[in-house]
Amino acid sequence: MVPITAQFQAESALHPAARALLLEVFDQGWADPRKLHLESRRAAILLQEAKESIASDLGLSPSEIHFLGEISLGFHLGIVGLLQPDSRLVHSSIDRAEVLAIAAQFPASWEMTVSNSGVVALPELQPNDVLVWQSLNAETGIFPPLPSGLDAFSGRVFVDHTAYPVQASEIPTFSSALWDSSSWSGPKGVSIFALKTGVSGWRNPFPHLQQTVVPSGYSLPLVLASAVALRHWRSDEANNKTKIAELARRIRNFISENIPETDMIDEQLNVWSGIVSLSFLYVDAERLQSDLADEGFTVDSGSACTSANLEASHVLKAMGLLSQGNIRLRLHHHVTAIQIDAFLTVLKRLVEKQRQ
C-alpha cells in the first residue's frame, strides 16, 4: 500500500474534538433520556444541550429538531410526509438518488431541468405542490440560485441540506429539512431532521406510536459528538475559508494553463470552494483514479467507468457536463498548498500519459 499523501475524497476523519468527546460520552450518555433515574436525567440534560447547540448552529429552534440514524428515513419523513393525494412532487434532475427513488414511486411528479450553470427551471407552482430543494449539490459544489418565484410559493418545501450545513434561515420557506452529520466531520449515522414549527399538512408516513415523529432509534453519544463536531467545524470553516478558496483557484488556474480540454464549472457561479469537479476529455476515470491512488492521492469520481452500474453520474449528465474522465476533489480544512501542488504535478503527468 502506498501511504496517502493527500486525501481528497468526500469522507473525512471524525473531527478531533468530537473524537475526544466520544469516549467520555459513551460513559455518561448510555442511559435512556426518557426515564427518571439519575443517569437518565443526566442523559436527558446532555441530549437537550446537544439539541440546543445544533439548533443554534443550524438556525433552528430546539423543538424543531429530530435525530435520525439512517439518512434515507429523513427523505421519506421530509418528502412523503408532506405529500397529499392531490399533490405534485416537484424536484430537480440533480437531486440525490433517494429523492429520485421517491419521485419514481409517486404518480404525479415533475422533474425540473438544470442548466450547466446550475439554474433550476422552476415550473409554475400550485398551492398543493411539494417542492424539493437542494441547497448545495455535492457533485458539482454548486449552490443552485434560489428562483425568484420561491418567495411567493405558499406550498410545502423540503430542503436537502445534506451536502453542507447551510443555516435553515437561508431558505426560509422550508417546511421540513434534512442535514447529515458527516458533512461537518461529525460521526456517520447521525442525521438531523427538522419540521418547521407550525407547518401544516405534515403527517408521519411511517407507522408510529403517540404521534412521535421518530422513535428514539439514535445513539446519544453519536448525537453529542455530532453537536461538538458541528460547533468546531463552523469555526474551522470560517478560519479556512480564504485558504480553501485560494487553493481552489490555484487548481483552476493550473488546469487552465496546463491541462487543455478539461471541463470545469464556471467559477463565476456560486460554487463552494470545498468541492472541485474536473472532467478530462479522452481520459478513463477509473484508470486515472487508480493511478492517482498509486501515487498517494485519493479522489472521488462521477464517471460511468467507475460506477458499479456503468451509468455516469446523473448529475453531470443532467447538467450537460462531461462525465468521462471525471474526478472530484474535496478540499478539507487541513489541506495545504504543498499537497495541492504535488497533486497537480502528478495529475498533469497522468492525464498526458493517457492522452498519448
Binding site: 480540454e261 471541463d263 472532467s279 476529455l281 479522452y282 481520459v283 478513463d284 464517471s303 460511468a304 467507468c305 456503468l310 451509468e311 455516469a312 453531470l316 449528465k317 450537460g320 457536463l321 462531461l322 462525465s323 468521462q324 474522465g325
Partner: protein
C-alpha cells in the same frame, strides 16, 4: 449515413470519443462522419465534447450520431 463510419459499438467510455477524435483528424473542416456507439455514456458526453471542442453533433437514431467538424 454520411462520410466515414466510426464503429465503436461494444466499447465503453472514453473509447468511443477517443476513436471519434482520432478519425476526425483525417476529415476536412465542414465535412462529417458517423459515429456508432451503444455506450450509455456517449449521448451525454458527445454533446459535452461538441461544446468543448466547438464541433457539431446530431443524433440520427439510437446509437448513431452525425458529427461535423467545424474547426
Amino acid at each position: 449515413m454520411a462520410g466515414e463510419i466510426v464503429d465503436a459499438r461494444g466499447k465503453r467510455c472514453p473509447l468511443p470519443i477517443i476513436e471519434l477524435a482520432q478519425a476526425l483528424k483525417m476529415v476536412d473542416v465542414g465535412d462529417s462522419l458517423t459515429l456508432l456507439s451503444d455506450d450509455p455514456a456517449t449521448v451525454a458526453d458527445l454533446s459535452a465534447w461538441a461544446r468543448m471542442t466547438r464541433n457539431e453533433v446530431e443524433q440520427q437514431r439510437d446509437f448513431e450520431f452525425l458529427v461535423t467538424k467545424l474547426n
